[in-house]
């Protein structure tokens, strides 16, 4: 009787080990390759989630088994300008079937901008240990002509309670003002285009979110986000290249860093690689230029001297 139990326990253990071995080991790396994702499409411990900018992209074809988080409604507060509340985020991840041993892989369109932003929200709400980014996002998945699925995915909800959050990954206006006024010793990285940084333009063409001042936070350095990726497939450049890229701009990780852009999403892309690939101490300023450049009394460096004429 007892030996029977032992044998059955041993058998089930063996089966479990075998089935686990059928999938690649859960990635510890903060970014995963498309090959890794392909191998783990059916892994019950891996939850793939698309966070794209354009509505309808996910529905017309997504990574098989992937769920859809909509950044305009799921990952932000719909009334006040803020990221999604802990309470709503907990509901969201429970509904997505995420548990404490689930590895979450995010990917999206536009070079993973909003997927990276989503990853930052996961980190702020305490799920940083569990979240990964598919290197290259939709861009590489489509480039490699990998299969896309159109079915909605049904998952079993969990009761997972969020671990403690990390609000210190978020920079506030006061943090950036303190940096601008040299009251704190931090590096500020502006990841927008050179034209925005220099104040030649207020925002890229077509942007709806605007500031009434052009330029940048005094003391900030400009490393446009796109310099960190390979243009052809959207993947991050090798760590050594990234290290050099920021070192050349005077940011070597010896001091805390604040990243910002216009609305905080592209700067999440830079935030992700700086913290997760290079291991630097970084806060993302999600208020970004649309908050800073509209704030009364905030010091601004405007190299181009553009004056806001209300047009």
């Amino acid at each position: 009787m007892i030996s029977g139990r032992i044998i059955s326990a041993a058998l089930s253990l063996a089966v479990a080990t075998l089935s686990a071995a059928a999938f690649a080991a859960p990635a510890k790396e903060p970014i995963v390759t498309y090959e890794w994702v392909q191998k783990n499409l059916d892994n019950p411990k891996v939850r793939i989630i698309e966070v794209s900018v354009d509505p309808g992209v996910y529905e017309r074809g997504h990574v098989p088994g992937a769920l859809n988080f909509r950044w305009h409604t799921d990952l932000v507060d719909k009334v006040s300008r803020d990221i999604v509340s802990r309470e709503n985020f907990q509901k969201l991840i429970q509904g997505a079937g995420i548990d404490k041993d689930t590895t979450v892989v995010l990917y999206g369109d536009n070079n993973n901008w909003f997927a990276a932003w989503g990853a930052w929200v996961f980190h702020v709400h305490g799920l940083g240990e569990q979240v990964r980014l598919l290197d290259g996002g939709r861009k590489i998945w489509e480039l490699k002509q990998l299969p896309l699925d159109t079915k909605a995915v049904e998952v079993k909800a969990t009761t997972y309670a969020l671990p403690e959050g990390k609000p210190n990954l978020r920079a506030r206006l006061t943090d950036v003002l303190a940096a601008a006024e040299k009251k704190t010793d931090v590096h500020v990285i502006d990841i927008r285009s050179a034209d925005e940084f220099q104040g030649k333009i207020f925002a890229p063409e077509g942007s709806k979110e605007l500031s009434v001042r052009a330029g940048h936070v005094p003391g900030a350095v400009n490393v446009t986000w796109s310099k960190a990726v390979n243009a052809e497939d959207g993947t991050f450049k090798p760590a050594a290249d990234l290290k050099k890229l920021y070192a050349d701009a005077g940011v070597d990780g010896s001091k805390p860093i604040i990243t910002y852009c216009r609305i905080g999403e592209r700067s999440s892309h830079t935030w992700y690689l700086l913290t997760q690939i290079l291991g630097y101490d970084v806060k993302n300023y999600d208020g970004s230029w649309t908050e800073y450049g509209n704030s009364v009394g905030a010091p601004v460096t405007n190299l181009a001297g553009t004056v806001w004429l209300g047009k």
Binding site: P55, G56, Y58, E59, R60, T73, T150, K151, A152, E154
Partner: protein, 385 residues
């Protein structure tokens, strides 16, 4: 133009369209070009036009056209139902399906659709009808499309006033959100069947059959496909299928986004466009934008017109004529109403009526009823041509 030359020219047009589709940089552009071409061929071959089908009923009590429209809505509904249930399994989640043409459903929409109906009856066709007739060499179509462009311009100028006065607070009603998918499907198909039965009841008891072509079986079959008018129902069924495929592959069917975008750009260049069009770009529908290169909808319209031209050439139905003054006036005047109505309703008989109704939008049904009323009233008042 003699038939052999016509066939040769249409062959080269189709080769050109295929080459365009194969060489397009974006898959959305090439898919739109192909879908537009298919749509153009179907419209031309089956004479599928919302106005003509309605007029056939009023003037001859011929129900086949109306039945074809209802069939296109039924088949489109079935296709959309498959996509919607797969893409948004829970219709009660508070979300709307991605970029489906579900617009504000209120009195202003009814008024705009009514104006559109009047414009159809005056100009002799809806916008998609004028587009395919452009390929047949219609003397009215160019004026109607010019009028449409102007009408869009007027629409942009009146948009902000109307938006604040009415549209901003008008609810966007999506029927599956209230009835569930099955309830909506059953109710909608039931209503369409009821309408078909109602029209059939008032139709002439027997509709004349078109005589079949002579010749050997192969020649007969070829004539049926390339020369004779396709049965209206075949056209309706094909429109329903194309509508669902277009939603799946690129975006819901519509023909006014590209025309509206041209109007918007012209106004902007003339510094006449309001600097902000409140809320307009937030609605799903036939979206306009300042023109910057070829849009998928632009490719769709180009495919439609060229393929209709090729189909008309092959059938020997390309019959260009000099416009009379009356055709020019009717085209421009009717087109003006078509343009204003389509701009204010965020789409026309294709974009709002077809793509809206089959997506479960109340706005689609409102457009259907109001534009029908506009057509009916105008046909009663307008002297017959």
């Amino acid at each position: 133009m003699s038939r052999p030359i016509g066939i040769a020219v249409s062959f080269f047009i189709l080769i050109g369209l295929a080459a365009g589709a194969l060489s397009a940089d974006s898959s959305k552009i090439s898919k739109s070009l192909v879908l537009g071409a298919l749509f153009g061929i179907v419209l031309q071959r089956s004479r599928f036009c919302f106005l003509c089908h309605t007029r056939d009923f009023f003037s001859n009590r011929d129900v086949r056209g109306i039945a074809a429209i209802l069939l296109s809505l039924g088949i489109g509904t079935l296709g959309y139902h498959v996509l919607l249930t797969a893409w948004l399994p829970d219709p009660f989640s508070g979300r709307l399906p991605p970029d489906a043409h579900i617009g504000p459903a209120g009195p202003l929409l009814a008024f705009a659709a009514f104006a559109f109906g009047v414009g159809m009856a005056i100009s002799g066709s809806c916008i998609s009808g004028h587009l395919y007739r452009l390929g047949e060499g219609s003397p009215t179509a160019p004026f109607a499309l010019l009028g449409t462009l102007l009408g869009f311009g007027v629409g942009f100028l009146t948009w902000n006033i109307l938006y604040v006065a009415s549209i901003a607070t008008t609810p966007v009603v999506w029927l599956p959100q209230h009835l569930g998918y099955t309830g909506w499907l059953v109710a909608q198909l039931g209503l369409l069947a009821l309408l078909a039965a109602l029209f059939a009841y008032f139709a002439r008891s027997s509709t004349p059959r078109e005589a079949g072509p002579d010749g050997n079986p192969l020649a007969q079959a070829l004539r049926r496909i390339f020369v004779c008018r396709w049965p209206a129902a075949a056209g309706g069924a094909a429109v329903g299928v194309i509508a669902a495929v277009a939603y799946f592959q690129v975006q819901p069917l519509g023909v006014t986004a590209a025309i509206g975008s041209v109007a918007r750009s012209l106004l902007a260049n003339a510094a006449l466009l309001p600097e902000t069009l409140h809320g307009l770009d937030g609605f799903a529908g036939c979206r306009t934008a300042l023109v910057s290169g070829l849009s998928p909808n632009g490719a769709f319209v180009i495919g439609l017109v060229l393929a209709s031209f090729a189909a008309a050439l092959t059938a020997g139905q390309f019959t260009p004529a000099w416009p009379t003054a009356s055709q020019a006036v009717r085209g421009l005047g009717g087109g003006l109403l078509l343009g204003w109505g389509a701009m204010t309703a965020i789409g026309c008989t294709v974009g709002t009526l077809l793509s809206g109704t089959i997506a479960g939008a109340a706005s689609g049904w409102i457009f259907l009823v109001a534009s029908f009323a506009g057509v009916w009233l105008t046909l009663r008042l307008l002297p017959a041509r």
